[in-house]
């Protein structure tokens, strides 16, 4: 009887992991396809520095440290995520082969590891409660922005809630296991140490005076709950801001390594300007006059901009450090990233629905991001500096301004005046270029 039950669970487990992995890979593939809809940019240089940046910024979380409280809380959750997943390896093996705590032959190491994971799990649970209270009780300003209304808020709460439940299941499972171990149940060999569940959960279970059968049921149910929870969580990731747990690593690897003040020079413009300035310049063979300038839609952005959008976890450090946002303007760098992702998802779905080709839908990135937002930016790099995983909202803003100016001539009037002054007087103000050195005459006055 037990054999049969075991086999059924093993088969069920295999089917579930197969389905979970299939859908997860499929959605990963879609995100990859969407990111590659972006314009090409060569970021294959300087591999050593790129690895170093990734290790420092993503793995070491150095930029998080700018704000100590969330840094510590997040570090616990992050360490928990990475380390407790080692225990998931055991869960997977146990699930496939019907074993119980298969790695317990490691003896003392296993003992210590399980104890450490319990402490971490408890830390994660507490940190998530803090995170929830920062959002919903303390109501930290950066979590009250209008762009978070609706799904974004719900997304954040879901993730925190699921993490709390997963950790609780883990502790509950350990508690039931412990009691069974102490009662000398043959299947539950003495293994692991339980520094948290032994005082937090065991007394509750013991006070209920449960039979072995009921405890086994609780232990198994928690085990299934935990692993199914992980499968669901994994499949929720591609739809969530929480996808940063995966993309933070490649996204920091592909960080901009140059000075933040240097904006890219548009090669298409360089060629045009050369032809314009030099009447003898030859049009290079195969040269095609560029069809458009700047960013109209997400597909005009680089794949790195698009990866940025999928990597963003909407923490809002960019927005809270933006001078324009702090002074009550509409511009919010976080919204720029969220809009980019939303539009890209929309384009992706359009492609899926139309058998692989995009059918024009009378919309573009400018339908999401208004002129009022675009023209408010100071290009001060505060958002870029603040991002813990080196996302660059400012580049998207400038690229969209380029479209406004070079394709639609739709700059605000004072900006257009500035342009004409620069064209006519070589200065943004209306001064005569002949007066440029007048100050030298009064040098000693």
């Amino acid at each position: 009887m037990r054999e049969v039950k075991n086999m059924i669970s093993q088969i069920l487990f295999l089917v579930l992991s197969g389905v979970a992995t299939y859908f997860f890979s499929k959605n990963l593939g879609k995100i990859r396809r969407n990111i590659l809809l972006g314009r090409d940019v060569d970021l294959s240089d300087n591999k050593a520095l790129r690895w170093k940046t990734m290790l420092k910024v993503a793995f070491g979380q150095t930029k998080m440290a700018a704000r100590p409280i969330p840094f510590i809380l997040h570090f616990i959750v992050y360490a928990g995520f990475i380390l407790i997943n080692i225990e998931v390896i055991e869960i997977l093996i146990d699930g496939i082969f019907g074993t119980h705590r298969v790695l317990s032959f490691l003896g003392k190491t296993y003992h210590l590891a399980i104890g450490f994971f319990e402490i971490l799990a408890f830390g994660v649970l507490i940190a998530c409660i803090f995170f929830l209270s920062r959002r919903y009780i303390i109501k930290l300003a950066r979590f009250q922005s209008p762009e978070l209304k609706g799904f974004a808020n719900q997304d954040a709460a879901t993730i925190l809630f699921v993490e709390i439940i997963l950790m609780a299941a883990l502790l509950n499972m350990n508690a039931a296991d412990q009691i069974l171990q102490l009662r000398g149940n043959e299947h539950y060999l003495i293994a692991g140490s339980f520094p948290i569940s032994s005082w937090l959960v065991v007394p509750i279970l013991e006070s209920l005076h449960l039979s072995d059968g009921a405890l086994i049921w609780i232990e198994r149910a928690s085990w299934w709950f935990h692993i199914i929870g992980i499968f669901i969580f994994m499949n929720y990731l591609p739809f969530s801001k929480h996808f940063h747990v995966i993309l933070a690593f490649p996204n920091t690897y592909y960080s901009n390594l140059k000075a933040k003040g240097g904006f890219n020079n548009m090669a298409s413009v360089t060629q045009e300007v050369k032809l314009m300035l030099d009447p003898n310049a030859q049009v290079p063979e195969g040269y095609q006059t560029p069809t458009s300038f700047g960013v109209k839609d997400v597909t005009d952005l680089t794949w790195k901009n698009l990866m940025d959008a999928y990597s963003c976890t909407e923490c809002g450090r960019c927005t809270s450090s933006c001078p324009q946002n702090q002074t009550g303007k509409l511009l919010s760098p976080r919204k720029i990233m969220m809009d980019t992702r939303d539009r890209l998802e929309e384009v992706g779905k359009n492609i899926d629905a139309n058998k692989g080709t995009f059918i024009a839908d009378n919309k573009n990135l400018h339908s999401y991001i208004s002129e009022e937002e675009l023209w408010a930016c100071n290009t001060c790099n505060a958002c870029v500096e603040a991002c813990p995983i080196n996302i660059n909202p400012m580049e998207i803003i400038v690229e969209m301004r380029r479209y406004k100016v070079m394709e639609e001539s739709a700059a605000p009037a004072p900006i257009n005046n500035m342009f004409s002054n620069m064209e006519n007087n070589q200065a943004p103000w209306q001064f005569s270029p002949m007066d440029r050195a007048n100050w030298t005459q009064e040098l000693n006055s």
Binding site: A66, K258, A259, K260, G261, G262, F263, N265, M266, V269, T270, E272, V273, L277, F293, G294, P323, Q324, Q326, T327, G328, K329, L330, E372, W375, A376, N378, T379, C380, N381, A382, E385, V398, R401, R402, K404, V405, A411, P412, P414, I415, M418, F419, M422, E423, Q426, A427, P428, W429, F431, P433, D435, R436, A437, N438, W439, T440, E442, L443, N444
Partner: protein, 262 residues
């Protein structure tokens, strides 16, 4: 101080001479009345340090920075390529400028267009000159003063220059006080990204007023700036608070020129 004349690259070439360094004045430094004072202070320091420098004079054009930030890449590249051609004609190798926007553009955006120069911001050069003893600060003109340095975005975050301006202040024998937001965390004055040339969008406050609040909190007697646009915005902020009697906004070059009695 000996009187001297600022020469142009064209003057030098006509005399068969070659300048060691080009002083890139920039549009604000050339035309803005307040910024002109900074320009003169820089010229006096360069002269006092015995540097053979020249300006482009009427041959200088805007670097194109505000056009680029505002999205007009055509205008930017046209101006950039003309400037590069002018500087190549005078065989310019090294440039100093008192404008962080010119500095950033010349340093980071010109090379790809063919303009490879060694570009220094005036705070870096002045700090070097002090370190090398080419100029020296005597007496304690600023003893007992509280000076706070406002980081220009295009020097700080854009180019990681945080220390040179602060080292200069320390050499002035003044107390360097930091505002609550400084260095990588510094708050923009509100001018960058071509905002200098337009009205702000609707909101609760102007950015420079937000920054002025930090300045007031610092209780500094002098706010040291290193950018002509910051200078304008910060001075407006001081005026907004009616604190012109208690707080002055000065460029670091002016402070140094004053301290070495130029």
């Amino acid at each position: 101080m000996n009187e001297f004349k600022v020469r142009t690259m064209a003057d030098m070439m006509a005399a068969g001479e070659q300048a060691d360094i080009l002083f890139w004045v920039g549009c604000a430094g050339s035309f803005d009345e307040r910024a002109q004072k900074v320009t003169k202070a820089v010229a006096k320091i360069l002269h006092a340090a015995g540097l053979k420098f020249a300006i482009l004079g009427t041959e200088e054009s805007c670097t194109g920075d505000p056009a680029k930030r505002a999205g007009n890449e055509f205008l930017f590249q046209m101006l950039a390529m003309q400037n590069i051609a002018t500087m190549h004609a005078y065989e310019v190798k090294k440039i100093v400028t008192a404008c962080p926007h010119c500095f950033n553009t010349l340093k980071n955006e010109y090379p790809e267009l063919g303009g490879n120069f060694e570009v220094l911001h005036h705070t870096t050069l002045i700090n070097q000159l002090l370190q090398e003893g080419k100029i020296s600060i005597q007496g304690g003109a600023f003893k007992g003063q509280r000076i706070s340095y406002h980081d220009s975005c295009y020097l700080g975050r854009a180019n990681n220059i945080y220390e040179a301006p602060r080292e200069i202040i320390q050499k002035l024998d003044a107390a360097l006080v930091e505002m609550k937001r400084s260095k990588a965390n510094g708050l923009c004055c509100g001018a960058g990204g071509a905002q200098m040339f337009k009205e702000a969008e609707n909101g609760k406050k102007e950015v420079n007023i937000e920054r002025a609040d930090d300045m007031m909190e610092s209780n500094a007697t002098i706010i040291a700036a290193a950018c002509p646009f910051c200078m304008t915005m910060l001075r407006d902020g001081v005026k907004h608070h009616n604190k012109e009697q208690d707080m002055e906004v000065k460029d670091l070059a002016e402070l140094v020129a004053n301290a070495i009695d130029l």
